[in-house]
């Protein structure tokens, strides 16, 4: 399409039926973690409360402590509203610890403390609450972290869906570690610590809406020990990022934009469990866009890739770690998938809510 041919478009005009622009009210897609979430953050939050810390666009903020040893503070906060509260492989309690621990660890920090805020709905089962808090305690032990402050609020029946949990995590970034979505460099390798889509499918299945059953378990897990072991073995890591909402595609696209690079993936190397693949086929989902809660993307110089993989595979959460692609300079902000057919496909941000195909 050349410039000369391009005709002016009237937004009011009869080119195509003009849809409702989702700017008047919040809709569910604003929480998808994809493009609509980005738009919401950009239009409402960054314009009003933006600053240099938020502008970095990472899962956690990096704060200078001005201490003698040069270490920095990593802070991240996350609200957990998963439905249903219990699902195969986890529950909202375990998720609320792991999600925040992982976000802090993605800056190369050692998570140390958490705060937890509970919003409880009147009528919620004490037994369920006890089980959820037991899971939180277990996840805290596993990740060697303590909850040091908390808050509890109760709202009237019907004003919240059972239970929401917010956690905020604090960790120390040792001096000299510069890890973040903005540091991917041409020549880097892209690694993933295991198979994709397990969490998304496990939660969908627990909703009982799939119409079939499977053995798929959520991968929800604290990754801080695995990441610390990795950084001790291979200090020269550029990016760590957990592909949660929006999945691998959305997360890599974010990194490609932050670092102004392109990322090329080899489709046949991307690990997806057969059960997850089948569930996705049946529902019209793409595993590359499904949420994960126990996986990390590692981007680092190619020469360290083998050693990093060997280290990751020693952790129970990284057994299936593998190399899935590489970083290039040309066509910045693009994520390209090289298919098994020798063709290419462009991966983008998740748009709207994940919706099943209908035929």
């Amino acid at each position: 399409m050349t410039q000369e041919k391009q005709e002016p478009i009237s937004m009011q005009g009869p080119v195509c039926p003009l849809p409702h622009q989702q700017t008047e009210t919040v809709v569910i897609g604003h929480g998808s973690g994809g493009q609509m979430t980005r738009d919401l953050i950009h239009n409402i939050f960054q314009t009003r409360i933006g600053n240099a810390y938020l502008a970095e666009g990472n899962d956690a903020a990096r704060i200078d402590l001005h201490g003698m040893d040069g270490s920095q503070l990593a802070v991240s906060t996350d609200s957990h509203v998963v439905f249903p509260l219990f699902y195969p492989g986890g529950n909202i309690g375990r998720l609320s610890i792991c999600g925040t621990v992982n976000d802090v660890a993605m800056l190369g920090a050692q998570p140390a403390f958490l705060t937890a805020g509970f919003i409880l709905e009147e009528g919620f089962s004490m037994e369920a609450l006890s089980r959820i808090v037991d899971s939180m305690a277990e996840a805290c032990r596993e990740s060697d972290i303590q909850i040091v402050a908390g808050d509890t609020k109760v709202v009237e029946k019907g004003k919240a869906d059972g239970l929401f949990i917010n956690t905020t995590g604090y960790g120390i970034i040792p001096n000299g570690r510069m890890i973040g979505g903005q540091y991917a460099k041409p020549g880097d390798a892209v690694l993933i610590s295991g198979s994709l889509g397990d969490h998304g499918i496990a939660v969908l299945q627990a909703r009982g809406e799939l119409g079939f059953e499977s053995q798929i378990q959520s991968d929800v897990a604290p990754l801080n020990h695995m990441i610390e072991d990795l950084l001790i073995a291979v200090p020269d890591v550029h990016v760590l990022r957990d592909p949660t909402r929006g999945g691998l595609s959305t997360t890599l696209k974010e990194i490609a934009c932050q670092s102004q690079v392109s990322i090329h993936l080899e489709e046949e190397t991307i690990p997806v469990k057969p059960d997850v693949q089948i569930a996705c086929e049946m529902l019209g989902f793409d595993p590359l866009y499904m949420a994960n809660e126990g996986k990390v993307i590692v981007i680092l110089p190619e020469k360290h890739a083998e050693k990093a993989l060997l280290t990751l595979r020693k952790s129970p959460y990284g057994v299936m770690s593998t190399r899935i692609g590489a970083v290039f300079q040309e066509n910045p902000e693009e994520v390209l998938l090289h298919t098994t057919f020798g063709t290419t496909r462009i991966l983008d941000f998740l748009s709207g809510e994940i919706l099943p195909r209908i035929c």
């Binding site: 009869p14 799939l210 035929c359």
Partner: protein
């Protein structure tokens, strides 16, 4: 689940070597350029997802047909659905894709955000269950789709009847493929020379309806599946028929489709529905191209129960979505494509649905072609 041999089943039909072999065969048989239409949106997406269009010889042009039920559902029907969904005692159920499709004002998502009870279901029978569990509410299912969803939609009506439910209705919106093919081929601007018929529609209906159409318009048609190997095999067979000058009907999806189709499903459709004229978004009214409830089941018709006939919407006459749905233009030929019109802020239905041609172009990176 483990005893179902799906992974091999899938990987077998995604074997790169076999696909390249078939592409080579296509190349060998080609003597001139051909324009083929893949009828179904699912086929469009598979072609884009695997990049099959990048592998095919330049002489083969794939034109994307009107096979996305979300895209062809008329503005008027969507406005009726929105009106029903806004009623306080109604639980409005729909397949997920339909929620973002714009009506004249708003979409089902915005109705839900404003407090309307809109629920996504994966099967019309789920909607029947919801009706059973909520006797105090009117439960309405938006019955969209081609012949593929028609049996399940019919089954929902029969099930509701069996259960004696008086609070369940459907908003009939099913459309039929053969009348659409007639409409495309009889258009004086038509340039489609061969059809890849939609495999899943044919799994229900068979392909006994197609030979007269192929003969009338001297256009070969080949029933085609959705995996990469299925698609290139369908293209190979269509090209062979074209090169041999034979306007006949082939079946390259015989593992799922027979000539007669699924008789039980067809019987169920006939029992509950009857053909009616239907307005296709961007195309206009195609005679006898939709399914309405027949006399005996009209008490399950939401349009009658909620008297939505009074809601009439006139559609734009120069919407490019219509030309895209008829294969007269490619999505990237629209000046708004990828700039003013994206999946986040779609200007037309083909950009909304996961099966829409514009969304396929956008998602799989055909921004510049």
């Amino acid at each position: 689940m483990n005893d179902i041999p799906f992974p091999n089943f899938l990987s077998g039909y995604r074997d790169a070597e076999l696909v390249h072999h078939v592409i080579h065969e296509i190349q060998k048989r080609l003597t001139k350029p051909w324009a083929l239409m893949e009828t179904c949106g699912g086929q469009t997406h598979a072609i884009m997802q695997y990049g099959l269009d990048q592998l095919l010889p330049e002489e083969i042009e794939l034109v994307h047909g009107p096979g996305c039920p979300v895209c062809v559902t008329s503005l008027e029907l969507i406005d009726q659905a929105l009106w029903i969904a806004r009623q306080p005692d109604v639980i409005f159920t729909s397949f997920g894709d339909m929620l973002r499709v714009p009506g004249s004002r708003g979409d089902l998502f915005s109705v839900r955000a404003a407090g309307g009870k809109v629920r996504v279901v994966y099967s019309p029978l789920d909607a029947v269950n919801i009706a059973q569990q909520n006797p105090g509410n009117e439960v309405v299912f938006f019955a969209i789709g081609f012949e593929t969803t028609a049996p399940a939609n019919a089954m929902a009506v029969l099930q509701a009847e069996k259960l004696g439910l008086t609070n369940f209705t459907i908003l009939p919106a099913n459309v039929l493929v053969p009348p659409a093919i007639h409409a495309i081929l009889s258009n004086p601007n038509n340039r489609i020379q061969g059809f890849l018929a939609a495999g899943h529609v044919c799994a229900v209906m068979g392909y006994w309806e197609y030979p007269p159409i192929a003969k009338q318009y001297k256009t070969p048609m080949v029933v085609t599946g959705f995996e990469p190997l299925d698609l290139v095999n369908g293209i190979l067979e269509t090209v062979s028929l074209l090169e041999e000058g034979r306007a006949s009907v082939g079946n390259a999806y015989s593992r799922a489709v027979t000539f007669d189709g699924n008789q039980a499903a067809q019987k169920m459709i006939q029992q509950v529905f009857e053909p009616v004229d239907r307005n296709w978004r961007g195309i206009g009214i195609i005679p006898q191209s939709g399914l309405g409830l027949c006399q005996a089941y009209q008490r399950f018709d939401a349009a009658l129960r909620f008297d939505t006939g009074k809601i009439q919407t006139k559609e734009s006459e120069i919407c490019i979505a219509g030309q895209i749905l008829q294969g007269l233009k490619k999505p990237s030929e629209c000046p708004a494509f990828g700039t003013l019109c994206t999946p986040q802020s779609p200007l037309g239905a083909p950009m909304v649905s996961s099966e829409g041609a514009c969304a396929a172009y956008f998602r799989y990176g055909r921004k510049d072609t």
